[in-house]
Subunit: 441 residues, 2 copies
């Protein structure tokens, strides 16, 4: 939007003429012209001056951010959208066409949601409806959910927790896809759906998704191309955390992806195909992770260019290599704060992002991912199965549950700090209050 100041300057420079003193010997026409222009010039200077007074030039102390209008939750105009089409289905049974155009149309009719739409993220997660068999399972799921809600509150994202089985045959890890599909339809204002497994948590509350990095992609998972295309390993990527764009390509892709699930007549065949293509897959059933790897490797021309295999930071981090690093990382971050008063400054929880930006300056040598001393973005307790309790035999129960407790408290420390408290011992749920100017001695 062109401001008054900008407008005035445009006219100012185009209309202004060098004033010439009126002289009886000049032609009447010329002097009339200059009078006219002089009047125009004076009026514009007045307008510009007045508007500068009412819209003072911002000083560096003021809020420089682009300000969007807040979404209007009470406005749904009668203009027809895809919601009024009887053909639209929330389920995976049929797939909508022209979804990109339909989303755009909805946004057009809901202008208060347009601003910020390009980066709007809806987090989606969930678990089974019935109580966990593991006696501590639901307590862990509750804490993992709280962690996600904390992250979303800091960054202004919406979050949806699902605990209904939307398709009777799409159980276990397949249950995600009907939820993601329904969420896309129910949330046209969201550009991205971010599925995060119930056993994954945020261990860096500052870090934000580098969405510009994914501007030409529609699906992001943690993974490494060579492990998929060359080594053909089923763990060359992880499907427990993915960012999927709310667009037609994603609906088409999910049709193929979820089409390998238990509801499909080809389910058993897929199990065999996936296992023969990815030789390290050790269980016979078709699973979504190997399915994704297959689509990237084998249907490469069709899909791969829009799928980002993110291996440069812990978009999803393997817990077993992470848990042991928490105390060293905590020490590093504490040392940074001891040297930088700005990072010790107390502040409203809602402006935490400002401090994330400051902290980032001090993390330039931290690195990312494995071997770094940066807080891992997401820690995923793959193989621990907190709900069923049937953890992978390669782990001990203690490693899983104690690891989870440490990770949850490591993350919670970053939140409780804003409320004036800390877990001094990551293995202990107890907290202590923090003195002013912590951690300065």
């Amino acid at each position: 939007m062109v401001t008054t100041t900008e407008l005035s300057h445009t006219h100012f420079s185009s209309i202004m003429a060098k004033p010439i003193p009126r002289n009886k010997s000049s032609s009447i026409f010329l002097s009339d012209g200059f009078l006219f222009l002089g009047g125009a010039f004076s009026a514009l200077v007045l307008v510009w001056g007045f508007s500068s007074f009412t819209n003072p030039i911002p000083n560096t102390h003021k809020n420089n951010a682009v300000s969007y209008s807040t979404p209007d939750l009470r406005f749904d105009p009668p203009d027809q959208t895809f919601y009024d089409d009887p053909e639209m289905e929330y389920t995976m049974t049929t797939k909508i066409d022209d979804w990109d155009e339909k989303r755009e149309e909805w946004l057009k009719h809901h202008p208060s949601f347009s601003a910020g739409a390009k980066d709007r993220v809806l987090m989606v997660t969930g678990s089974q409806p019935s109580p966990c068999k593991n006696p501590i399972g639901d307590n862990l799921l509750l804490r993992f959910f709280k962690n996600k809600v904390d992250y979303c509150r800091i960054h202004g994202y919406d979050i949806f927790y699902n605990n209904a089985l939307l398709h009777p045959k799409m159980f276990a890890y397949w249950a995600k896809y009907p939820v993601v599909k329904a969420a896309m339809m129910a949330h046209p204002e969201a550009e991205w759906i971010w599925w995060v497994d119930s056993d994954a948590l945020f261990t860096d509350m500052d870090f934000k998704l580098p969405l510009k990095r994914y501007k030409d992609h529609n699906l992001v998972v943690h993974g490494w191309p060579h492990l998929i295309h060359e080594k053909r390993s089923w763990t060359g990527l992880n499907a427990g955390v993915f960012l999927i764009r709310n667009c037609q390509w994603s609906l088409d892709f999910m049709e193929a992806w979820a089409g390998m699930g238990p509801q499909s007549p080809d389910y058993e065949e897929w199990g065999k195909t996936l296992r023969s293509t990815f030789k390290d897959k050790f269980f016979p059933e078709s699973d979504d992770q190997t399915g994704l790897a297959y689509l990237i490797a084998i249907e490469k021309e069709k899909w791969a260019d829009r799928i980002y295999l993110e291996g440069e930071y812990y978009f999803e981090g393997y817990w077993e290599e992470i848990v042991e690093t928490f105390s060293n990382i905590s020490k590093k971050y504490e040392d940074i704060e001891k040297d930088e008063p700005k990072l010790r400054r107390r502040h409203a929880e809602k402006v935490s992002e400002a401090y994330g930006v400051i902290r980032e300056e001090y993390l330039k040598d931290a690195g990312y991912g494995k071997g770094s001393w940066r807080r891992p973005f997401v820690t995923h307790f793959t193989g621990c199965q907190p709900c069923s309790g049937k953890y992978n035999e390669m782990y001990s129960a203690d490693a899983c549950w104690n690891g989870m407790k440490k990770a949850l408290n490591f993350a919670d420390n970053q939140i409780m700090r804003k409320f004036g408290f800390v877990h001094k011992d990551l293995g202990d749920n107890g907290v202590s209050s923090l003195p002013f100017d912590y951690p300065q001695v």
Copy 2:
């Protein structure tokens, strides 16, 4: 902020003069003046016309809502606020002074949060850190938490789930108060802190707090004045759900209120005083609910005028009288929808409030609270103790757990509807997909 159009009109009317044709017989001075003014006028018409073109007059189909700027999460200026005062404490040990002025100062330095500040609500809830003794306890807490997150997502509220014991001696129901205090300090942008117990859930997803009603009050609880002042019943109000204003009065009040807790040297004495004042209180320990009733009844002049005993709707509803009404209420609402196509219209979850407004027109005869057929706002499973499992003997276990399941599914139906699903049987966690134009036959 004065707009370009408004500014231009101001100048337009003050500067414009009726153009007079130039005439050799007019004095040179007058005709020069008119030429000058004519130039001024023309310039302003140009500027006004250009700005109208770039800022078209909104048509009636457009979003008429007041648009606030979105809070800027990345902006925390260096201007000193209460956060920079070493005396400020998040704990209940010391109490801040001039909190109203300090909050206002913070808002002044964070203008993007000012808009909407008067009605901004932070929901706070929580439970113990350790797993529940009741095998299904944490599963229930997880579902109750999801319910609150759903309500907040629809209405744009932030929510904070606490599961740390902030004061080692303030256990059980007393644990709330340090959390509320810390939340007030951590969230100066919030006008209200809305504490909702872990065993209370939202059973009307449309209903919004009538905040205007409470403009002269600082604390709202469900209760009835005669039961407090005359009958002196400890259940004359319920402290499991309260709305408390983020202000100095509230800090002062909480100091008195929480001062009756286990951390106080007067704790035992308070137990005796409360029990002798409220004769139907049957357990000896000082509790926060009777404590609140005491402060309203006995320290009436000091506090009562700012405490709203809300008895006109289910600000907090007693589950035992509510659960049996769910199927009748569901039928009533379904009948309304069968007659009103607007209410059958599918829509984005984020614009649900628009449909709440439409629905309200049809609820004019529904009534409120007990005996009404309006969806109860909040249903509270007092006495069921989902976490410990030690439910009050006057109930049966089945009544509690089955009641909770029904309530959770009754509420979830209002959410799942936006995702295209419904629990047909409230006692069953299973869902079915909904056809277009449901519930029209």
